[in-house]
């Protein structure tokens, strides 16, 4: 511009001084020529720049608090929902690495490389750098629950019960190799203290075992849940008992055991049956190494009582040799899988003859092992719907078509299609297939 007039209204200047940017006026204001008729049309413009704000006055923590916190009253009204989470903007940033890719010897590169001195130099830009940084920041904003394999979530996933917490901590040389701890119960317990009033603690009930007959259980309490689990885990490792397994897959024999109001009937099962029992018993069996068993609980299902009853039962088991010795007879096994070929499992030192056995002696193995206790099996009644009239109608309708699926399969096998004895004579005598139906409906 040819002629310049300084914009010098005192009013405006005052207002600038309030904004404390007066010292920048000479550089920040454009001068305009009032005498120039052309320039009169141009309204003088002011571009203001602030070099100070609460962004550089407050600390990062204070700033984050401002945008991520809600007042207590607001929280109650549900205002805390959907609010952002604090991000650590330093994450992913490395000193010396930035937008422009520069080698700084001594900062992000060695000073001497071989015999040569490394010089500061600019390298081509890394286009991924900014995207990577953004990605790292984005991952911080989302809430992520702890990802766990469904098989490792325990019984329900909501509570710790049934979850594995790893082997016990090593004691000296003993590293507890092959051991595993499972949580059976984790609950809040409360006690009244004279000085503190109501005191809350976490109680953890843990079972430990090596999957090969060695197992123990313990309960421990602590204010912190994690500490309670750790204490219970390590305590259970010091209370190990040896449990004998039959062929490494099931219990030695059927037995009945009880603790308090909890009564358990345990039935030995052949290979492949699996564990059909209460979840706590199942977890215990997995830890002990029992793979096939049926157990029925009668009475209370308090987990601690179940555990104690089951362990008592397991420890009271007798080996076949002991049973045979007590009975004075051979113990013989008959397996249906090999055609019931007799196999002597245990023999007494002196076997009795048939004349020596009194007529009223209990000879049934199951009855003998359960101490004359008979397992109550409820009678199975037909389901309720079989008494309805609709069931009768259903059965009558099913009678005609009960074997259709088998016949269809047989026809597909032998003819490759569904046909009738008339199909040869009348080729159109074929049931409509799924595709044909669609075509027909389109034609219509």
């Amino acid at each position: 511009m040819a002629s310049r007039i300084l914009f010098s209204s005192s009013k405006i200047l005052n207002s600038f001084s309030r904004l404390s940017i007066t010292h920048q006026i000479p550089s920040n204001f454009r001068r305009c020529d009032l005498l120039n008729p052309f320039s009169l049309n141009n309204v003088p413009s002011i571009n203001s720049v602030r070099h100070t704000s609460f962004f550089n006055k407050l600390s990062a923590d204070q700033l984050w608090k401002g945008c991520t916190s809600v007042s207590n009253a607001g929280k109650k009204r549900g205002r805390a929902r959907g609010i952002g989470r604090k991000k650590d903007l330093n994450k992913g940033q490395i000193i010396g690495v930035g937008k422009t890719n520069i080698v700084w010897p001594g900062l992000n590169a060695p000073i001497v490389k071989g015999r040569e001195l490394v010089r500061q130099q600019k390298l081509p830009d890394n286009p991924d750098w900014e995207a990577n940084l953004r990605k790292i920041r984005d991952t911080m904003s989302e809430f992520r629950s702890l990802k766990m394999n469904p098989l490792e979530r325990g019984w329900t996933g909501a509570k710790v019960g049934g979850r594995s917490i790893g082997p016990p901590d090593p004691i000296g040389q003993n590293t507890f190799e092959g051991f595993d701890c499972r949580v059976l119960e984790m609950k809040l317990v409360v006690v009244m203290k004279g000085t503190l009033g109501r005191k809350r603690r976490q109680s953890a009930f843990v079972v430990t075992g090596n999957g090969n007959g060695l197992a123990g259980f313990a309960v421990a309490k602590s204010v912190e849940g994690k500490a309670a689990l750790r204490k219970a885990k390590n305590r259970s490792a010091q209370k190990l008992v040896n449990i004998e397994l039959c062929d490494g897959h099931t219990v030695m024999h059927d037995f009945y055991c009880r603790f308090g109001a909890t009564k358990i009937t345990v039935i030995k099962k052949p290979r492949g049956f699996g564990l059909v029992c209460h979840r706590a018993i199942k977890t215990m069996c997995e830890v002990i190494g029992i793979k096939d068993l049926y157990a029925k609980i009668e009475g209370s299902t308090n987990v601690q009582h179940i555990t104690k009853a089951f362990f008592i039962g397991l420890l009271q088991q007798r080996t076949p040799a002991e049973i045979a010795e007590q009975k004075g007879l051979h113990l013989v096994e008959f397996r249906s899988e090999n055609g019931r070929f007799p196999k002597v499992i245990a023999s007494p030192t002196a076997c009795r003859e048939s004349e020596d056995i009194p007529g009223n002696e209990v000879m049934d193995f199951k009855q003998y092992m359960m101490n004359d206790r008979v397992i109550y099996k409820r009678k199975k009644y037909p389901p309720f719907y079989t008494k309805h009239r609709s069931w009768e109608i259903y059965c009558r309708r099913q009678e005609k078509i009960r074997n259709h699926d088998k016949v269809k399969l047989d026809m597909h096998l032998h003819y490759g299609e569904i046909r009738s004895f008339l199909t040869d004579k009348y080729p159109e005598c074929r049931p409509p297939s799924g595709k044909a139906k669609v075509v027909e409906s389109e034609a219509e």
Binding site: E333, R335, E337, K343, D410
Partner: protein, 356 residues
Amino acid sequence: MVRILHIWLYKDPAPKFIDAETQKLLKSITRLQLDKIFRNRPNPINTVEYKFMTTEEIENEVKKAFTKARELLQMPPIVQVEQANCQVISKDPGLDSYSNCKYVITDITYGVNDSERTIVVRQTDGTLETADPKLRKRINQIYFPLQNRHIRDPRMFEEENLRGCLDRHEYEFVLDRMCIQFEPFEQKFHEISSKVYLHINETKEFDILRSTRHFGPMSFFLAWHKMIDDLVIDMIKRDYLTNAVEVICLMYNLNGIEYDKGILKQLEQFTSSFESREENGFAIAKKGLEKELNETVGKSIEQFKIDEASLEFIDAFCKSHAIKKIQLTLCLQMYKEGNEEKKRLLEGLRKAHGVS
């Protein structure tokens, strides 16, 4: 193949098969191996039962198990193929074209044998005649179904599918299913069984059938057709010399070849000891069904004597009637060397123990 079937058609093998001596030889050849007969098999309800027993009761149970084993080893018979003979009962021209389909009339009285049941057909031209075997089988299966037998032949027995089964060495499965689906007098029975036996003879997998009910018929088939060389070689390799001798005797018997029957009497003593295992049932039940150890480790002097006699007999067979002479001679030589060594070991042991 064709030649073989012709023999079954025109020369009845049944009298030779049912013959007491043949049966005795076949049973001995089959070998009753408890661990194989009572091997673990899949069954729907897997149960384990325990019982308190006295020694006497256990021995009875083992005896029962032996009886059951013998029942399981009962051989399906080899009989001639039955020819269809339809007898015309009456011809009623008056009923001609009365209907455009045949009428099958069946006597479904309870308790009548399937083979004796009266089944007649009224043809469309009014002829009343007895049903042919194919129709009889179908009608019998419809009214009195046998478990696992199908009205149509399973596709497993079709040429291509059967080959697949045989290549997988599922001989026992094929033969068992064949016994269910077909009667021994049916053409198909002989066709399939001969195919299986020939395949086994080719692959030399005789051990798969050993101690099953099909080993006897297979040996009979091979002996009848004078192709026992591979079977004998297999038996020598497994140290079943007595069985090898028995197979050769069976072949001589079936084909009318003269031989010295003294050898069988000599062997009887040894085989009887094998059969008399039943006596000490308790020991068997105590041991369980573990694989029986090869008895060759502790051979007695008597056994060596029998071995020598058997080897002589097999040598004679090798020279006169064997087809694969070279292989058989080689196998015999190897066996003799092995046996010599064992004999020397036994003598050394006896000397060391001071037994003269």
